[in-house]
Protein backbone atom coordinates (compact mmCIF):
# COMPACT_ATOMS: atom_id res chain seq x y z
CA UNK A 1 0.00 0.00 0.00
CA UNK A 2 1.44 3.36 -1.09
CA UNK A 3 0.59 6.40 1.02
CA UNK A 4 -1.81 8.98 -0.36
CA UNK A 5 0.20 11.92 -1.67
CA UNK A 6 -1.11 15.47 -1.11
CA UNK A 7 1.33 16.60 -3.82
CA UNK A 8 -0.34 14.41 -6.45
CA UNK A 9 -3.81 15.47 -5.30
CA UNK A 10 -2.74 19.11 -5.61
CA UNK A 11 -1.22 18.40 -9.05
CA UNK A 12 -4.51 17.06 -10.36
CA UNK A 13 -6.45 19.90 -8.75
CA UNK A 14 -4.04 22.29 -10.50
CA UNK A 15 -4.96 20.68 -13.82
CA UNK A 16 -8.61 21.60 -13.21
CA UNK A 17 -7.66 25.09 -12.09
CA UNK A 18 -5.75 25.57 -15.35
CA UNK A 19 -8.79 24.37 -17.24
CA UNK A 20 -11.09 26.71 -15.37
CA UNK A 21 -8.92 29.77 -15.95
CA UNK A 22 -8.48 28.90 -19.64
CA UNK A 23 -11.96 30.25 -20.34
CA UNK A 24 -13.86 33.05 -18.57
CA UNK A 25 -17.10 31.48 -19.81
CA UNK A 26 -16.42 28.48 -17.59
CA UNK A 27 -16.08 30.74 -14.55
CA UNK A 28 -19.23 32.71 -15.38
CA UNK A 29 -21.10 29.45 -16.00
CA UNK A 30 -20.27 28.30 -12.46
CA UNK A 31 -22.22 31.16 -10.92
CA UNK A 32 -24.82 31.65 -13.66
CA UNK A 33 -27.44 29.03 -12.77
CA UNK A 34 -27.29 29.45 -8.99
CA UNK A 35 -27.71 33.21 -9.49
CA UNK A 36 -30.62 32.82 -11.93
CA UNK A 37 -32.30 30.41 -9.51
CA UNK A 38 -31.76 32.80 -6.63
CA UNK A 39 -33.26 35.72 -8.58
CA UNK A 40 -36.28 33.67 -9.65
CA UNK A 41 -37.01 32.37 -6.17
CA UNK A 42 -36.40 35.81 -4.71
CA UNK A 43 -39.28 37.23 -6.76
CA UNK A 44 -41.47 34.24 -5.93
CA UNK A 45 -40.71 34.84 -2.25
CA UNK A 46 -41.65 38.52 -2.57
CA UNK A 47 -44.93 37.61 -4.20
CA UNK A 48 -45.80 34.82 -1.77
CA UNK A 49 -44.84 36.86 1.29
CA UNK A 50 -48.08 38.82 0.92
CA UNK A 51 -50.18 35.69 0.33
CA UNK A 52 -48.71 33.04 2.60
CA UNK A 53 -48.41 33.16 6.35
CA UNK A 54 -45.54 30.66 6.29
CA UNK A 55 -43.49 32.75 3.87
CA UNK A 56 -44.45 35.91 5.73
CA UNK A 57 -43.28 34.30 8.96
CA UNK A 58 -39.98 33.17 7.49
CA UNK A 59 -39.19 35.16 4.37
CA UNK A 60 -35.90 33.40 3.74
CA UNK A 61 -37.44 29.94 3.59
CA UNK A 62 -37.54 29.54 -0.19
CA UNK A 63 -34.29 31.38 -0.82
CA UNK A 64 -32.47 29.31 1.81
CA UNK A 65 -33.92 26.17 0.26
CA UNK A 66 -32.92 27.03 -3.28
CA UNK A 67 -29.39 28.04 -2.29
CA UNK A 68 -28.86 24.93 -0.17
CA UNK A 69 -30.28 22.78 -2.95
CA UNK A 70 -27.71 24.32 -5.27
CA UNK A 71 -24.96 23.33 -2.83
CA UNK A 72 -26.05 19.71 -3.28
CA UNK A 73 -26.51 19.99 -7.03
CA UNK A 74 -23.27 21.90 -7.70
CA UNK A 75 -21.14 19.62 -5.54
CA UNK A 76 -22.46 16.57 -7.40
CA UNK A 77 -22.05 18.21 -10.79
CA UNK A 78 -18.67 19.67 -9.82
CA UNK A 79 -17.36 16.18 -9.22
CA UNK A 80 -18.91 14.21 -12.08
CA UNK A 81 -18.52 16.85 -14.80
CA UNK A 82 -14.88 17.40 -13.92
CA UNK A 83 -14.32 13.65 -14.22
CA UNK A 84 -16.03 13.71 -17.62
CA UNK A 85 -13.48 16.32 -18.70
CA UNK A 86 -10.82 13.60 -18.40
CA UNK A 87 -12.90 11.25 -20.50
CA UNK A 88 -13.54 13.91 -23.16
CA UNK A 89 -9.83 14.76 -23.17
CA UNK A 90 -8.93 11.04 -23.42
CA UNK A 91 -6.57 11.72 -20.56
CA UNK A 92 -7.52 8.86 -18.22
CA UNK A 93 -4.90 6.55 -19.70
CA UNK A 94 -2.16 9.13 -19.16
CA UNK A 95 -3.30 9.72 -15.59
CA UNK A 96 -3.45 6.06 -14.66
CA UNK A 97 0.00 5.25 -15.98
CA UNK A 98 1.35 8.05 -13.79
CA UNK A 99 1.91 7.43 -10.06
CA UNK A 100 -1.54 8.91 -9.37
CA UNK A 101 -3.65 6.46 -7.36
CA UNK A 102 -7.40 6.21 -7.98
CA UNK A 103 -8.17 7.30 -4.41
CA UNK A 104 -6.01 10.39 -5.01
CA UNK A 105 -8.10 11.17 -8.07
CA UNK A 106 -11.24 10.87 -5.92
CA UNK A 107 -9.79 13.30 -3.36
CA UNK A 108 -8.73 15.76 -6.09
CA UNK A 109 -12.20 15.63 -7.61
CA UNK A 110 -13.71 16.36 -4.20
CA UNK A 111 -11.37 19.30 -3.69
CA UNK A 112 -12.24 20.78 -7.06
CA UNK A 113 -15.95 20.15 -6.54
CA UNK A 114 -15.76 22.03 -3.24
CA UNK A 115 -14.01 24.99 -4.92
CA UNK A 116 -16.53 25.07 -7.77
CA UNK A 117 -19.45 24.90 -5.32
CA UNK A 118 -18.04 27.72 -3.19
CA UNK A 119 -17.53 29.92 -6.25
CA UNK A 120 -20.86 29.08 -7.91
CA UNK A 121 -23.17 29.20 -4.91
CA UNK A 122 -21.04 31.80 -3.13
CA UNK A 123 -21.72 34.41 -5.81
CA UNK A 124 -25.48 33.76 -5.61
CA UNK A 125 -25.39 33.92 -1.79
CA UNK A 126 -23.57 37.26 -1.85
CA UNK A 127 -25.81 38.74 -4.55
CA UNK A 128 -28.93 37.78 -2.57
CA UNK A 129 -27.90 40.28 0.12
CA UNK A 130 -28.26 43.46 -2.03
CA UNK A 131 -30.99 41.99 -4.26
CA UNK A 132 -33.43 40.77 -1.59
CA UNK A 133 -31.87 41.79 1.72
CA UNK A 134 -31.50 38.10 2.38
CA UNK A 135 -28.42 36.77 4.12
CA UNK A 136 -28.03 32.98 4.14
CA UNK A 137 -25.49 33.33 6.95
CA UNK A 138 -28.39 34.30 9.22
CA UNK A 139 -28.87 30.54 9.59
CA UNK A 140 -25.85 30.78 11.88
CA UNK A 141 -23.62 27.89 12.86
CA UNK A 142 -26.08 25.20 11.67
CA UNK A 143 -25.37 26.43 8.12
CA UNK A 144 -21.90 24.83 8.34
CA UNK A 145 -23.51 21.47 9.21
CA UNK A 146 -26.07 21.81 6.42
CA UNK A 147 -23.37 22.73 3.91
CA UNK A 148 -21.12 19.85 4.95
CA UNK A 149 -23.90 17.28 4.68
CA UNK A 150 -25.08 18.51 1.30
CA UNK A 151 -21.56 18.54 -0.12
CA UNK A 152 -20.90 15.01 1.16
CA UNK A 153 -24.14 13.76 -0.37
CA UNK A 154 -23.32 15.56 -3.66
CA UNK A 155 -19.93 13.83 -3.76
CA UNK A 156 -21.47 10.41 -3.11
CA UNK A 157 -23.94 10.85 -5.99
CA UNK A 158 -21.24 12.39 -8.19
CA UNK A 159 -19.00 9.37 -7.71
CA UNK A 160 -21.83 6.95 -8.49
CA UNK A 161 -22.64 8.90 -11.66
CA UNK A 162 -18.96 9.01 -12.68
CA UNK A 163 -18.74 5.24 -12.16
CA UNK A 164 -21.81 4.70 -14.33
CA UNK A 165 -20.39 6.81 -17.15
CA UNK A 166 -17.04 5.06 -16.88
CA UNK A 167 -18.87 1.75 -17.22
CA UNK A 168 -21.37 2.67 -19.95
CA UNK A 169 -19.50 5.43 -21.79
CA UNK A 170 -20.17 9.08 -22.49
CA UNK A 171 -23.61 8.20 -23.83
CA UNK A 172 -24.67 8.00 -20.19
CA UNK A 173 -23.41 11.54 -19.47
CA UNK A 174 -26.92 12.98 -19.24
CA UNK A 175 -27.37 10.95 -16.03
CA UNK A 176 -25.11 13.52 -14.38
CA UNK A 177 -27.75 16.20 -14.90
CA UNK A 178 -30.78 14.02 -14.32
CA UNK A 179 -29.72 11.84 -11.37
CA UNK A 180 -30.14 14.37 -8.63
CA UNK A 181 -33.50 15.62 -9.91
CA UNK A 182 -34.86 12.10 -9.56
CA UNK A 183 -34.43 12.34 -5.79
CA UNK A 184 -35.34 16.04 -5.49
CA UNK A 185 -39.05 15.42 -4.78
CA UNK A 186 -38.06 13.15 -1.87
CA UNK A 187 -35.69 15.66 -0.26
CA UNK A 188 -38.37 18.05 0.97
CA UNK A 189 -36.53 21.06 -0.38
CA UNK A 190 -39.53 23.41 -0.42
CA UNK A 191 -42.01 21.47 1.73
CA UNK A 192 -41.92 19.37 4.91
CA UNK A 193 -41.40 15.62 4.53
CA UNK A 194 -44.83 15.19 6.15
CA UNK A 195 -46.30 16.48 2.87
CA UNK A 196 -45.20 13.29 1.11
CA UNK A 197 -47.49 10.23 1.10
CA UNK A 198 -46.98 8.03 4.16
CA UNK A 199 -45.42 5.22 2.15
CA UNK A 200 -42.78 7.58 0.67
CA UNK A 201 -41.71 9.18 3.91
CA UNK A 202 -39.47 6.32 5.15
CA UNK A 203 -37.65 6.47 1.80
CA UNK A 204 -37.25 10.22 2.14
CA UNK A 205 -35.70 9.87 5.59
CA UNK A 206 -32.98 7.70 4.07
CA UNK A 207 -31.69 10.76 2.22
CA UNK A 208 -29.31 13.04 4.14
CA UNK A 209 -30.71 16.05 2.27
CA UNK A 210 -34.17 15.47 3.79
CA UNK A 211 -32.68 15.90 7.27
CA UNK A 212 -30.87 19.05 6.15
CA UNK A 213 -33.98 20.71 4.72
CA UNK A 214 -36.08 19.72 7.73
CA UNK A 215 -33.32 21.13 9.91
CA UNK A 216 -33.29 24.33 7.88
CA UNK A 217 -37.05 24.77 8.33
CA UNK A 218 -36.68 24.08 12.03
CA UNK A 219 -34.11 26.88 12.34
CA UNK A 220 -36.10 29.37 10.24
CA UNK A 221 -39.63 28.63 11.48
CA UNK A 222 -39.11 27.45 15.06
CA UNK A 223 -35.67 28.96 15.75
CA UNK A 224 -34.48 25.57 16.97
CA UNK A 225 -31.48 23.65 15.80
CA UNK A 226 -32.07 19.88 15.55
CA UNK A 227 -28.67 18.31 16.22
CA UNK A 228 -30.15 14.81 15.89
CA UNK A 229 -31.17 15.57 12.29
CA UNK A 230 -27.67 16.74 11.48
CA UNK A 231 -25.99 13.72 13.06
CA UNK A 232 -28.38 11.32 11.38
CA UNK A 233 -27.56 12.96 8.04
CA UNK A 234 -23.83 12.60 8.77
CA UNK A 235 -24.20 8.88 9.50
CA UNK A 236 -26.16 8.38 6.29
CA UNK A 237 -23.56 10.36 4.35
CA UNK A 238 -20.73 8.25 5.74
CA UNK A 239 -22.48 5.20 4.32
CA UNK A 240 -23.31 6.77 0.96
CA UNK A 241 -19.85 8.22 0.53
CA UNK A 242 -18.23 4.86 1.32
CA UNK A 243 -20.55 3.29 -1.25
CA UNK A 244 -19.77 6.00 -3.84
CA UNK A 245 -16.00 5.62 -3.40
CA UNK A 246 -16.18 1.81 -3.51
CA UNK A 247 -18.31 1.77 -6.65
CA UNK A 248 -16.06 4.35 -8.37
CA UNK A 249 -12.89 2.39 -7.52
CA UNK A 250 -14.55 -0.84 -8.65
CA UNK A 251 -15.52 0.85 -11.95
CA UNK A 252 -11.87 1.79 -12.50
CA UNK A 253 -10.80 -1.80 -11.82
CA UNK A 254 -13.45 -3.01 -14.24
CA UNK A 255 -12.22 -0.51 -16.84
CA UNK A 256 -8.71 -1.92 -16.36
CA UNK A 257 -10.09 -5.37 -17.01
CA UNK A 258 -12.01 -4.30 -20.13
CA UNK A 259 -9.25 -2.08 -21.47
CA UNK A 260 -11.49 0.96 -21.64
CA UNK A 261 -9.06 3.32 -19.88
CA UNK A 262 -7.06 3.42 -23.10
CA UNK A 263 -10.04 4.22 -25.26
CA UNK A 264 -12.39 6.16 -23.02
CA UNK A 265 -13.84 9.16 -24.77
CA UNK A 266 -16.80 10.32 -26.74
Amino acid sequence: MIAVSPQRIAALALRYLYLLRSSWIRIVELAYWPTVQMILWGFITQYLASHSTVIHQAGGLLLSAVLLWDVLFRSQLGLSVVFFEEMHARNLGQLFISPLQPIEMVLALMLVSLARTLIGVGVAVLLAIPFYRFNLFQLGLPLAGFFLNLVLMGWAIGLLVAALVLRFGMGAESIAWAAIFAIAPLCGIYYPIATLPDWLQPLSWLLPASHVFEGMRSVLLAQTFRLDDLLYALVLNAGYLALGISVFLAAIDKARERGSLLQSGE
Partner: protein
Protein backbone atom coordinates in the same frame (compact mmCIF):
# COMPACT_ATOMS: atom_id res chain seq x y z
CA UNK B 1 13.36 -15.55 -14.15
CA UNK B 2 16.53 -13.96 -15.50
CA UNK B 3 18.30 -11.94 -12.85
CA UNK B 4 19.61 -9.18 -15.12
CA UNK B 5 16.18 -8.69 -16.69
CA UNK B 6 14.36 -5.50 -15.77
CA UNK B 7 11.11 -6.68 -17.37
CA UNK B 8 10.03 -10.31 -17.01
CA UNK B 9 6.90 -11.65 -18.64
CA UNK B 10 5.72 -15.22 -18.20
CA UNK B 11 2.85 -16.90 -20.03
CA UNK B 12 0.97 -13.59 -20.28
CA UNK B 13 -2.58 -13.76 -21.61
CA UNK B 14 -5.35 -11.29 -22.29
CA UNK B 15 -8.60 -12.72 -23.54
CA UNK B 16 -11.78 -10.80 -24.33
CA UNK B 17 -14.28 -13.61 -24.43
CA UNK B 18 -13.31 -15.73 -27.43
CA UNK B 19 -10.81 -13.12 -28.67
CA UNK B 20 -7.25 -13.91 -27.58
CA UNK B 21 -5.48 -10.56 -27.89
CA UNK B 22 -2.38 -11.90 -26.16
CA UNK B 23 -2.08 -15.64 -25.79
CA UNK B 24 0.68 -16.95 -23.59
CA UNK B 25 3.74 -14.83 -24.32
CA UNK B 26 6.95 -14.94 -22.30
CA UNK B 27 9.96 -12.70 -22.67
CA UNK B 28 12.59 -10.82 -20.72
CA UNK B 29 14.15 -7.44 -21.37
CA UNK B 30 17.64 -6.79 -20.06
CA UNK B 31 18.47 -3.62 -18.15
CA UNK B 32 19.81 -0.90 -20.42
CA UNK B 33 18.72 -2.61 -23.61
CA UNK B 34 16.30 -1.44 -26.29
CA UNK B 35 13.66 -3.94 -27.26
CA UNK B 36 11.08 -3.68 -30.03
CA UNK B 37 7.67 -5.30 -30.04
CA UNK B 38 6.79 -5.80 -33.67
CA UNK B 39 3.77 -7.13 -35.46
CA UNK B 40 0.92 -6.15 -37.72
CA UNK B 41 -2.23 -4.40 -36.53
CA UNK B 42 -3.98 -6.51 -33.89
CA UNK B 43 -0.87 -8.58 -33.16
CA UNK B 44 -1.03 -7.71 -29.45
CA UNK B 45 1.67 -5.04 -29.10
CA UNK B 46 -0.42 -2.30 -27.53
CA UNK B 47 -2.25 -4.82 -25.35
CA UNK B 48 1.09 -6.09 -24.05
CA UNK B 49 2.35 -2.56 -23.34
CA UNK B 50 -0.92 -1.66 -21.60
CA UNK B 51 -0.53 -4.72 -19.33
CA UNK B 52 3.08 -3.77 -18.55
CA UNK B 53 1.85 -0.33 -17.50
CA UNK B 54 -0.90 -1.80 -15.32
CA UNK B 55 -3.50 -0.08 -17.47
CA UNK B 56 -4.97 -3.40 -18.48
CA UNK B 57 -5.41 -6.41 -16.22
CA UNK B 58 -4.06 -9.67 -17.65
CA UNK B 59 -6.35 -12.70 -17.87
CA UNK B 60 -3.44 -14.86 -16.74
CA UNK B 61 0.33 -14.87 -16.50
CA UNK B 62 2.96 -12.96 -14.61
CA UNK B 63 4.66 -9.62 -15.09
CA UNK B 64 7.58 -8.46 -13.01
CA UNK B 65 9.10 -5.02 -13.54
CA UNK B 66 12.02 -3.72 -11.50
CA UNK B 67 11.45 -6.71 -9.24
CA UNK B 68 7.82 -5.80 -8.50
CA UNK B 69 4.72 -7.73 -9.44
CA UNK B 70 2.48 -5.92 -11.92
CA UNK B 71 -0.36 -4.96 -11.68
CA UNK B 72 -0.45 -5.61 -7.92
CA UNK B 73 2.47 -3.34 -7.01
CA UNK B 74 2.36 -1.04 -10.02
CA UNK B 75 2.36 2.09 -7.85
CA UNK B 76 5.83 1.20 -6.58
CA UNK B 77 7.12 1.06 -10.13
CA UNK B 78 5.14 3.70 -12.04
CA UNK B 79 7.22 6.65 -10.72
CA UNK B 80 10.26 4.98 -12.34
CA UNK B 81 8.59 4.33 -15.69
CA UNK B 82 6.91 6.40 -18.35
CA UNK B 83 5.13 5.98 -21.64
CA UNK B 84 4.66 7.93 -24.82
CA UNK B 85 2.15 7.26 -27.53
CA UNK B 86 0.78 9.44 -30.31
CA UNK B 87 -2.54 7.72 -29.67
CA UNK B 88 -2.91 8.91 -26.09
CA UNK B 89 -3.79 12.57 -25.76
CA UNK B 90 -3.06 15.21 -23.20
CA UNK B 91 -5.75 17.76 -22.26
CA UNK B 92 -6.30 19.88 -25.38
CA UNK B 93 -7.22 23.16 -23.68
CA UNK B 94 -4.22 23.28 -21.39
CA UNK B 95 -1.05 24.84 -22.74
CA UNK B 96 2.02 22.69 -23.26
CA UNK B 97 3.62 24.28 -20.22
CA UNK B 98 0.55 23.62 -18.05
CA UNK B 99 0.31 20.00 -19.20
CA UNK B 100 3.97 19.34 -18.50
CA UNK B 101 3.77 21.12 -15.13
CA UNK B 102 0.82 18.98 -14.03
CA UNK B 103 2.57 15.75 -15.03
CA UNK B 104 5.87 16.87 -13.53
CA UNK B 105 4.03 17.32 -10.22
CA UNK B 106 2.28 13.97 -10.58
CA UNK B 107 5.67 12.31 -11.08
CA UNK B 108 7.18 14.23 -8.17
CA UNK B 109 9.79 15.96 -10.35
CA UNK B 110 11.97 18.42 -8.47
CA UNK B 111 13.02 21.78 -9.94
CA UNK B 112 10.20 21.66 -12.45
CA UNK B 113 11.10 24.90 -14.25
CA UNK B 114 14.66 23.78 -14.92
CA UNK B 115 13.48 20.35 -16.05
CA UNK B 116 10.90 21.82 -18.45
CA UNK B 117 13.45 24.29 -19.83
CA UNK B 118 15.93 21.47 -20.49
CA UNK B 119 13.32 19.28 -22.17
CA UNK B 120 12.01 22.26 -24.14
CA UNK B 121 15.46 22.85 -25.54
CA UNK B 122 16.28 19.19 -26.14
CA UNK B 123 13.01 18.44 -27.94
CA UNK B 124 12.75 21.87 -29.58
CA UNK B 125 9.30 22.57 -28.14
CA UNK B 126 10.07 25.81 -26.28
CA UNK B 127 8.45 27.93 -28.98
CA UNK B 128 5.01 26.52 -28.28
CA UNK B 129 5.14 26.16 -24.51
CA UNK B 130 2.38 28.76 -24.17
CA UNK B 131 0.16 27.34 -26.88
CA UNK B 132 -2.79 25.06 -26.08
CA UNK B 133 -1.86 21.42 -26.69
CA UNK B 134 -4.91 21.05 -28.93
CA UNK B 135 -3.60 23.68 -31.34
CA UNK B 136 -0.41 21.76 -32.13
CA UNK B 137 0.29 19.70 -35.23
CA UNK B 138 0.52 15.91 -34.93
CA UNK B 139 4.30 16.05 -35.03
CA UNK B 140 4.47 18.74 -32.36
CA UNK B 141 2.11 16.71 -30.16
CA UNK B 142 4.37 13.67 -30.53
CA UNK B 143 7.33 15.71 -29.31
CA UNK B 144 5.35 17.07 -26.35
CA UNK B 145 4.22 13.54 -25.51
CA UNK B 146 7.86 12.47 -25.52
CA UNK B 147 8.74 15.40 -23.27
CA UNK B 148 6.03 14.22 -20.86
CA UNK B 149 7.52 10.71 -21.00
CA UNK B 150 11.00 11.99 -20.16
CA UNK B 151 9.89 14.30 -17.33
CA UNK B 152 10.77 11.85 -14.55
CA UNK B 153 13.91 10.53 -16.27
CA UNK B 154 12.41 7.05 -16.31
CA UNK B 155 14.44 3.89 -15.83
CA UNK B 156 12.02 2.17 -18.20
CA UNK B 157 10.60 4.06 -21.14
CA UNK B 158 7.78 2.47 -23.10
CA UNK B 159 7.08 3.94 -26.52
CA UNK B 160 4.27 3.27 -28.93
CA UNK B 161 5.36 4.32 -32.41
CA UNK B 162 7.65 7.08 -31.14
CA UNK B 163 8.23 8.69 -34.52
CA UNK B 164 4.75 8.35 -36.04
CA UNK B 165 3.54 11.60 -37.64
CA UNK B 166 7.03 13.09 -37.70
CA UNK B 167 8.80 14.25 -40.83
CA UNK B 168 12.03 12.32 -41.60
CA UNK B 169 14.26 15.05 -40.24
CA UNK B 170 12.38 15.39 -36.93
CA UNK B 171 11.99 11.62 -36.67
CA UNK B 172 15.75 11.23 -37.04
CA UNK B 173 16.28 13.85 -34.34
CA UNK B 174 13.88 12.04 -32.03
CA UNK B 175 15.77 8.78 -32.51
CA UNK B 176 19.00 10.57 -31.66
CA UNK B 177 17.40 12.01 -28.52
CA UNK B 178 16.16 8.58 -27.46
CA UNK B 179 19.58 7.00 -28.08
CA UNK B 180 21.33 9.79 -26.20
CA UNK B 181 18.89 9.46 -23.30
CA UNK B 182 19.38 5.69 -23.13
CA UNK B 183 23.18 6.00 -23.26
CA UNK B 184 23.26 8.80 -20.71
CA UNK B 185 20.82 7.32 -18.20
CA UNK B 186 21.20 3.60 -18.79
CA UNK B 187 17.44 3.41 -19.24
CA UNK B 188 15.68 0.45 -20.78
CA UNK B 189 13.53 1.17 -23.82
CA UNK B 190 10.65 -0.98 -25.02
CA UNK B 191 8.98 0.23 -28.16
CA UNK B 192 6.27 -0.79 -30.55
CA UNK B 193 7.02 0.42 -34.03
CA UNK B 194 6.15 -0.08 -37.67
CA UNK B 195 9.31 1.69 -38.78
CA UNK B 196 11.81 -1.08 -39.44
CA UNK B 197 14.81 1.16 -40.11
CA UNK B 198 14.12 2.69 -36.71
CA UNK B 199 14.10 -0.76 -35.16
CA UNK B 200 17.37 -1.70 -36.84
CA UNK B 201 18.98 1.52 -35.68
CA UNK B 202 17.70 1.58 -32.09
CA UNK B 203 17.07 -1.96 -30.95
CA UNK B 204 19.25 -4.76 -29.80
CA UNK B 205 16.33 -7.14 -29.29
CA UNK B 206 13.19 -7.74 -31.31
CA UNK B 207 10.04 -9.63 -30.33
CA UNK B 208 7.76 -10.45 -33.24
CA UNK B 209 4.09 -10.92 -32.42
CA UNK B 210 1.36 -12.40 -34.54
CA UNK B 211 -2.21 -13.01 -33.37
CA UNK B 212 -1.15 -12.70 -29.74
CA UNK B 213 1.76 -15.14 -29.98
CA UNK B 214 5.49 -14.58 -30.16
CA UNK B 215 6.53 -15.99 -33.52
CA UNK B 216 10.15 -14.85 -33.52
CA UNK B 217 12.61 -13.18 -31.20
CA UNK B 218 16.25 -12.15 -31.31
CA UNK B 219 18.64 -9.44 -32.38
CA UNK B 220 17.68 -7.66 -35.64
CA UNK B 221 20.76 -8.99 -37.48
CA UNK B 222 20.08 -12.50 -36.22
CA UNK B 223 16.49 -12.38 -37.51
CA UNK B 224 17.55 -10.95 -40.87
CA UNK B 225 20.02 -13.81 -41.18
CA UNK B 226 17.52 -16.44 -40.01
CA UNK B 227 14.90 -15.34 -42.52
CA UNK B 228 17.45 -14.91 -45.27
CA UNK B 229 16.33 -11.35 -45.95
CA UNK B 230 18.23 -8.13 -46.56
CA UNK B 231 16.59 -6.03 -43.82
CA UNK B 232 13.98 -5.99 -41.06
CA UNK B 233 11.36 -4.61 -43.43
CA UNK B 234 11.41 -7.89 -45.37
CA UNK B 235 11.47 -9.95 -42.18
CA UNK B 236 8.45 -8.02 -40.92
CA UNK B 237 6.55 -8.69 -44.16
CA UNK B 238 7.34 -12.40 -43.96
CA UNK B 239 5.99 -12.57 -40.44
CA UNK B 240 2.94 -10.40 -41.12
CA UNK B 241 2.11 -12.65 -44.06
CA UNK B 242 2.53 -15.78 -41.99
CA UNK B 243 5.90 -17.02 -43.20
CA UNK B 244 8.32 -18.26 -40.54
CA UNK B 245 11.83 -19.37 -41.45
CA UNK B 246 10.56 -19.95 -44.98
CA UNK B 247 7.48 -21.91 -43.89
CA UNK B 248 3.91 -20.60 -43.98
CA UNK B 249 2.48 -20.34 -40.47
CA UNK B 250 -0.85 -21.94 -39.64
Amino acid sequence: MTEAAIIQVEDLRKHYGAVRAVDGISFAVARGSTCALLGGNGAGKTTTIAMLLGLLLPTAGRIQILGEEIPRHRHRVLPRMNFSSPYMDLPQRLTVNENLTVYARLYGVRRIRERLAALGQELDIEAFFKRPYGSLSAGQKTRVALAKALLNEPEILLLDEPTASLDPDTADRMRSILTAYRDRSGATLLLASHNMSEVERLCDQVIMLRAGHIVAAGAPRELIHRYGRKDMEEVFLDIARGIRDGEVLA
